[in-house]
Symmetry: C2
Subunit: 120 residues, 2 copies
Amino acid sequence: MNPSRAELAGTPDPPYVAVIFTSIRAGEEDDGYSTTDTAMSRLATRQPGYLGVDSAREQIGITVSYWRDEASARSWKQVAGHTVAQRRGRERWYSDYRVHIAHVVRAYGPHDDARDGVPD
Amino acid sequence: MNPSRAELAGTPDPPYVAVIFTSIRAGEEDDGYSTTDTAMSRLATRQPGYLGVDSAREQIGITVSYWRDEASARSWKQVAGHTVAQRRGRERWYSDYRVHIAHVVRAYGPHDDARDGVPD
């Protein structure tokens, strides 16, 4: 789920839901991973309640997807094509992974954070 | 904040707090970034309430740090050395960034997620 250009997800004012997916690839071989990754990325953008995604991979991969609420995040988990990809992920692509479902309560960027030492 | 080996943060059972920091580097030049990044990573592990961190950088950087509660996450934001690094981040290293503070309500891995289509 790499963005084609460097841009951060533009999320609305909280509250909303973040699904933090961290993973370690099982090996170097692609084995259909990239194609599925791209397809899932596109499929996610078409789901109700999808707000955006941030993704990077180095030694580990991190994909944070943002959703309007828990119901929309859960619906995406159950989308048919996505459940197939999840199963392949478990069986082939990842040696380990973790999913954290979290409620975003505050968010800020450079323009909201000009002073040091001030609680966010 | 790259881990020296590929391992995912070992977080306890929820609830706890995740601070999702996404960023875009301003340029290719290091300009003290790596040294500070490593130092901050080490400093964070010594803060009260620190639970772990996951980090990766590709087109964008994502660092998710996990904290016992909001108070410990906020204290880390205000640690002296860290506020200096935050200021340099804004002024030199990042062309853009976003901080999302989120309450983790559920978390699971491969061993908890063996069946498809089951709500997490």
